[in-house]
Structure formats: C-alpha cells, structure tokens
Amino acid sequence: MAEKDPILGGLEGKIGRTLAKKGRFFFEVADGNLPDVARHLFVTSGCRLSTATATETHRGLEVLYHFSHDATGRYYSPRVVMTDRDRPKMRSIAPIVKGAEWIEREMAELFGITFEGHPRPERLLTKDHPKTPDRPLRLRRTP
C-alpha cells in the first residue's frame, strides 16, 4: 500500500520504516531530511498541517507531524526520533510551514526540544508568566 501511494512515491530514499493502514501513513524521517519531506508534503503535494505530537518514549523523544491531504482524506505523519534525552534538538519546519509556528513553540516549551531555525523561538504558554517554570512541564524524567 505504501509503495502505491503517489505522494509517498516522491519521498523515496528520504523516509524510513512506514506503517500504513486505511488512509493513514506513519513513517520515520531522519532529522536532516525533514525540511525536504515537509516541503514535498506541504508545498508540492498541497497537504495541510493539522498539528504535531511530541511523545516521550523508551527510545527517547519523538515528534510526529500530522499532514492532512484534504483531497483524499489521507494523513501523512513523518516521525522524527531524538535519542539524546539531555539535549533534544531537531530542525524546525516553521520556515516552510507557517502553521507550524505555534505548535513547535509549544513542544519546545513543554518537552524541552530545541527547534533549530524557528523564526520566533519564544515560549507560547508561559511567555509573560510571573513565575516561569524552570523545567519542561510535560517531561516525566528531568533532563
């Protein structure tokens, strides 16, 4: 199923293990390839970014972007895994997808992930907070 999908076809060599089920594609992407994948999905294929999910797993931290292809109702979700728990960092897709600005700021704040190249790397939820939290609030393990 994964090979037949025309949008994923244009990403050959840039994506890793793909999990495909009815209208949903979850695939792993190396951090270096993320801007190319985001450009292909958003600019070339006309997908819309719904949101992104950061999760703490046994492998480290992972960020899953959810691109919706509205013409077909399909979802393409590139997953970036960061194994360095102490200093998780990855490239930002906000310069390509403006709609990713808020969610990347939120993930940076709650999970302590540094998004390199983000146009406005500020806190989203506690920007003017009288007592700024001293650690990422969603992390169970303190980095």
Partner: protein, 394 residues
C-alpha cells in the same frame, strides 16, 4: 515610526474568556498583532492519559462548552481508527444528528455575538432567542442542554425514540422559518453589508500558509470540510453541500455560517427521517483496543478538531493529543488584521469564532492610567456602524 500597543486582554470585552492580544497601532491603523495564550491551560492531554477510554470521553467533552460533542466525536473516531472499529448504522445517524444540531446552535450563538459587537442588538436577541429551541431539542434527546455524554467507542449511549421524532421535526421547521427571516433581514440590510464587506480580509494564500480550517478557510476559497473529505458516521449517507466563498472578509464568514446552518437543518431532517425506521442496536460492544496509533477528526462548527491517540493494548491511551480549530485559526488574525482600522479589529478577531478555552486560553483593556478601555473599543466598533447607518439612511 511611533507605535502604540493596545492590550486587548487577558479578558476579552466580548467573549468573556482569557486570551491576550497585543494590538500594535499606528494612529488608527493596526500594524501588527501579538497573541499570548496559556491562561486556560488545563492539562487535558495529561489527565486523559490517566483515564480509561470511556472516562476520557467525559473529560474531552469539557474542553469546550460550545462544541461539546465535537471533541468526544473526534476522540472516539481516533480510538476507532486504531482498530478499524465499525459502528451500527443507527448510531451513525444519531452521531450525525447531534453533531449538526450543535453546529446550528453554535452558528446562532456566533451570529448573535457578531451582531452585538457591531451594535446590532436586534440580531443578537433574535439569534439567541431561536437558539433556545435547539437546546431544548438536545434536552429531549440527551437529557442535557450541553455536555450531552452521547458518544461511546463503538456507537452512542442513548437512543432517539422514534415516537419523539414528529415533535422534533416540527420544532426544526420553526427554527428553519425563523432562520430564513433572520438571514433575509441581515442580507437586505445595507448598513450590515457596508459595515462588514471587505473588512478583515484573509487571502486564500494566507489561509493556506496558516493552515486555517473551517468557515475561516472556506470563506477564503479553500474547499476543506472534514465531513466531505473523510465522510465518517452518516455523512456519506446524507445529502448536503460544503459552503465555499471567495472573498475572505468578515461578511463572507458570516454568509458561510448562515448558509451552513441551513445545510445543517437539511442534514438533521434527513437523519430524523432515517431514525424513524433505521433498525438495529446503537452500540457495538468493544472488548479491547489493541496497541497502535489512531487519528480522529471531526468538522466542529469552527473547523477541524483533531485527536491523536496512541494505545498500548490497555484500556487507556498512552498518548493523547488534542488540537482544537481555534489553535490554527487565531494566528490568521495576524494576516487579516494587518492595515485595518482599529474599529474593525474586534469584529475581525471575532469573525474566526474563536474559542479560547479550546485553544486553551479575551480581554479587559487597561490604558496607561489603569482605566478600563475594553468598552471603549466596543464603543468604537458600534459608533462606526452608527455612522454608516446615518450615512445610508440619512
């Protein structure tokens, strides 16, 4: 260039919820807008990971008081997506019925608020008056005016008794006639038209860039509607149109919502007709949810609600991500408010029908002397309408 920043927040003059807009102005012209959120962060995602799937439905229902069935619906879609769980056809019609009734009452609520904002209190009173019967329908069907508690993984919790249908159809007919009256009165009014036409334009390209959803995107010419793009429940079985307009201004956003209300009435009528005869159970027994990932979404009145669930085979989610439509629609104000007069800024902010408690985060304005100026901004908006009314009617 000297610049003044007008703080609109964190308590909004109209919407009575917490959100902080810093409006940068040069004289009367808006030159930038900076949004601060976080006043209503309640940690739903974190709590949900400690609740069972059924308990989470009641939790996500309380994310928003207006679209209180959109979140549970998107959540159950996400859980059902993990295992491709099917639902009975009668349950599909009931889900669609509840979802569309909610759209009617939500659009009427917005129409009333928009009217109040620009100084049209008659519109506000009409819209809210005829929103009441919709809530009464909800009470008849679900037992509650809000927070219906109807959704379950695998179906719905309560049935709609066939004998209740004729009375519901009668009330629906009344709402449709009154809605037509309101729509005609609004469409025929030259003041309303000149007050809202060309105000706060969101271009098609900006809607794409900001990943806007719902009526905000559809008024800017983007044909995106989850009900059409990925028809779940009974949306594949009923006849309706997705309303798409081109101009992207506040007037088009209003027209999209009014026309959508009529489409919703059409869908509700079809669902009620089917419910007279559709056979079968309303809930499939779901014994377990296997380990996996699921994406669920629903076209809420404000746009796409997105839920992502990761499961590990237990009875609770390992990770639950919620994204409400206002989270992507509020940043579009940066584009639509640019260069407009301050008197138009409030209605432009309100035109996306923002739901701060969804986004998770409105405004008392305080000037340098500590005087509340929120009512002044509202006054500014109302005075502009009054000026237009005098110009047109003499």
């Amino acid at each position: 260039m000297s610049q003044t920043v007008i703080p609109v927040g964190p308590f909004h003059p109209l919407l009575e919820e917490a959100e902080f807009f810093k409006i940068h102005v040069d004289g009367e012209t808006v030159t930038g807008i900076d949004t601060d959120i976080g006043y209503m962060h309640r940690g739903h995602e974190f709590i949900s990971e400690r609740k069972t799937f059924t308990q989470s439905i009641f939790l996500v229902e309380r994310i928003c008081g207006i679209c209180s069935t959109s979140h549970p619906l998107a959540f159950v879609h996400a859980v059902e997506d993990v295992d491709n769980i099917e639902i009975p056809v009668r349950a599909a019609y009931i889900r669609t019925l509840i979802g569309e009734l909610e759209r009617i009452h939500s659009h009427l609520l917005w129409l009333g608020l928009a009217g109040h904002f620009i100084g049209y209190d008659t519109l506000w009173m009409w819209a809210w008056k005829y929103r009441e019967p919709v809530l009464e329908i909800f009470e008849t069907i679900t037992g509650n005016r809000n927070h219906y508690g109807m959704m379950r993984v695998g179906g719905v919790a309560r049935d709609v008794p066939p004998e209740a249908v004729p009375a519901l159809l009668e009330t629906l007919g009344m709402i449709e006639r009154k809605m037509a009256m309101i729509a005609k009165a609004a469409a025929d009014d030259p003041v309303l038209r000149s007050r809202l036409k060309g105000v706060g334009v969101l271009s098609r390209q900006a809607a794409i860039d900001y990943c806007a959803v719902g009526p905000t995107a559809r008024a800017s010419g983007l044909a995106i509607d989850v009900r059409k793009d990925e028809p779940k429940d009974a949306y594949g079985l009923v006849d309706f149109k997705a309303i798409v307009l081109e101009n992207g201004d506040v007037y088009d956003k209003l027209v999209v919502r009014v026309l959508e209300t009529f489409e919703s009435i059409k869908i509700v009528r079809q669902c009620l007709d089917k419910l007279k005869t559709a056979p079968g159970p309303i809930l499939n027994d779901v014994k377990e949810v296997t380990a996996g990932e699921g994406i669920g979404r629903y076209e809420a009145p404000r746009g796409e609600v997105f839920h992502y669930v990761r499961t590990d085979g237990s009875n609770r989610p390992l990770r639950h991500k919620v994204r409400a439509p206002s989270y992507v629609n509020i940043p579009t104000c940066e584009a639509s408010c640019m260069g407009i007069p301050l008197a138009d800024a409030l209605i432009t902010l309100a035109a996306i029908d923002p739901c701060y408690c969804c986004t998770e985060r409105a405004v008392h304005l305080v000037d340098a002397r500590g005087v509340r100026i929120a009512p002044d901004l509202l006054q500014l908006s109302r005075e502009k309408t009054e000026r237009l009314r005098r110009d047109i009617h003499g």
